[in-house]
């Protein structure tokens, strides 16, 4: 077994164990952290496939940003495990059907007998000077530029919509106006009064 194969089995084992932990862990924070681990190992597997840009993007976007916010929410929610487990047996049958269909579809594709996968040429390893990132950037911004830009605009609309849906303006909210704050001068806040010194009356007790 060469190094690459060994690394693949190592990462694949961790990935499957972590993915199992995601669905079996009782504590939602543990489940979320296991999901982080499975994303990270999936990125390592992509690195083995010489898809370094996708691997790094997976870590950057999913591990570095999405899962952080996810954990943020999961930690603050007061999750009642008993209520989550309600109706487990009712959902079991449909879930098994869906899972069975998914396994069958994957077996059909990965088995490859029906799609003539064996006739496809094996992907050849890239030469050392090949930059995955540069190629991907070139294609994204030339051939697929419209699709790319439209996807970006849709995402932007989704962000704006999410904020617009959840933003509730209250009349009694107190706001700060930083532009007004910085333009405040000393005279607006403090008035210095010139006052002559007074002698204390010697007869008065202090």
């Amino acid at each position: 077994m060469d190094f690459e194969k060994g690394a693949f089995y190592f990462f694949a084992t961790i990935l499957i164990l972590a993915a199992l932990r995601v669905i079996t862990a009782r504590n939602p924070v543990h489940a979320a952290l296991s999901l982080v681990l499975s994303f990270f190992t999936a990125a390592a597997l992509w690195l083995l496939l010489e898809a370094e840009f996708l691997a790094i993007a997976l870590v950057l976007v999913y591990v570095g940003a999405v899962m952080v916010l996810f954990l943020f929410v999961v930690m603050m929610l007061d999750i009642n495990l008993d209520r989550l487990r309600e109706g487990y047996w009712d959902y079991l049958l449909p879930a098994l059907v869906v899972a069975g269909v998914m396994v069958m579809e994957m077996a059909v594709i990965l088995g490859g007998r029906y799609f003539n996968l064996s006739e496809m040429p094996k992907p050849s390893g890239a030469d050392p000077g090949y930059s995955n990132t540069r190629e991907l950037g070139g294609i994204l911004y030339t051939d697929y530029v419209y699709a790319f830009e439209i996807a970006a605009v849709i995402l932007l609309v989704a962000i704006v919509a999410a904020i617009a849906l959840t933003l509730r303006k209250r009349k009694d909210n107190k706001y700060q106006a930083p532009s007004k704050q910085v333009s405040t001068r000393r005279a607006d806040r403090v008035r210095l009064v010139s006052m002559p010194a007074e002698k204390r009356d010697p007869g008065e007790a202090s």
Partner: protein, 339 residues
């Protein structure tokens, strides 16, 4: 390395050689962290008209080792109700990215463990994982103060990562590469320091450096620790070695972001004057200056209020970076570049 390959074969020799490089970097970073803590106490001491530590060793030079020894022999207390596994793994989670990111940092021409093409992306991806240490520590401690610190820190790091990323996008537009060595080489001109990215990207340098201070949870953005409000934030329950590891991670991160700023904006190992030779010492001097700025800020500025931090990140830095991105794009397209 060749003689080693003859004895034990090429793959084993390559592995050993890489391991040796990793150990060298880890030792160098750890020693730098040790002396950075001493420098911090000395610099802030002098700024506040004190002497700073001067008792252990000549001029206090052995003070960091005394501190480390003290932390190592202290007991690690695990709070009741804390999640033991996560409580212990949180410091490791915060130290790992701070050390792993050094793999792609070039110290001088060719002196880099792994000269990968997507180096900058790798650094961004790895450092974005540092926040897990803080969040997990805050949650696993089973303490309100620690949890508040973790929440603050997570929001702050996520906010400033965007500004930081956009500032770096400007750099890679200028140099047309994600490889850190190529980014430094693209700043090599006949004009010395005028050719660095510092001049055309001056606002981006400021944004990057301030975001870096916020990302590393240093004063004046240290609300995650906020010792006057939430006692010490996420690491309030940590003691002994576990606390030392958090400390190590924070300072290693400071050195890392300073090194990145030096590479991307200040020309790395390039000399500022064309008649002087390039070399590692220029890189070291730039990093040392940026680290001094970290300490200087801490001695100078009062802590930001939390809503002001958020406003600065989202409403000032991110629009500024986007405008500069557009400007740089137009300049490059029109070839109005003087060099």
């Amino acid at each position: 390395m060749e003689w080693l390959a003859e004895i034990i074969g090429a793959p084993a020799a390559a592995t050993l050689w890489t391991l040796a490089k990793i150990v060298a970097i880890v030792i160098a970073v750890t020693l730098s962290v040790a002396y950075l803590t001493l420098a911090e106490r000395k610099v802030i001491g002098y700024m506040q008209l004190r002497l700073g530590p001067n008792r252990v060793g000549p001029k206090g030079l052995l003070q960091p080792f005394a501190d480390v020894l003290k932390l190592l022999v202290k007991e690690i207390i695990i709070p009741t109700g804390a999640n033991k596994f996560l409580f212990i793994s949180a410091p490791v989670l915060s130290l790992m990215p701070a050390l792993a990111a050094w793999a792609v940092i070039p110290f001088t021409d060719g002196a880099v463990v792994s000269n990968i093409d997507a180096g900058l992306l790798y650094v961004l991806a790895i450092t974005s994982m540092g926040v897990y240490g803080v969040i997990v520590a805050g949650w696993a401690s089973n303490s309100k103060y620690a949890f508040l610190g973790a929440m603050r820190s997570a929001a702050q790091i996520v906010a400033y990562e965007i500004a930081m990323g956009f500032a770096l996008v400007c750099v890679l537009m200028m140099s047309g590469s994600l490889n850190l060595s190529v980014i430094v080489d693209s700043q090599r001109t006949a004009y010395g320091l005028l050719g660095w990215n510092l001049l055309p990207l001056l606002p981006m340098f400021v944004v990057y450096f301030i975001s870096a201070v916020a990302e590393t949870n240093r004063a004046p953005f240290d609300v995650a620790e906020g010792e006057s409000e939430i006692v010490a934030g996420f690491h309030v329950e940590y003691s002994g070695t576990a606390f030392a590891v958090f400390f190590l991670a924070e300072y290693a991160n400071m050195i890392l972001v300073s090194a990145l700023a030096a590479l991307m904006f200040l020309g790395g190992w390039l000399s500022p004057f064309p008649f002087l030779p390039d070399g590692f010492f220029w890189f070291a001097a730039k990093v040392a200056f940026l680290l001094f700025c970290f300490l200087w800020f801490r001695a100078t500025f009062p802590r930001y209020r939390y809503d002001q931090i958020m406003r600065l990140g989202w409403k000032v830095f991110i629009p500024l970076t986007i405008v500069w991105l557009l400007l740089i794009g137009v300049l490059m397209r029109m070839s109005w570049w003087p060099w």
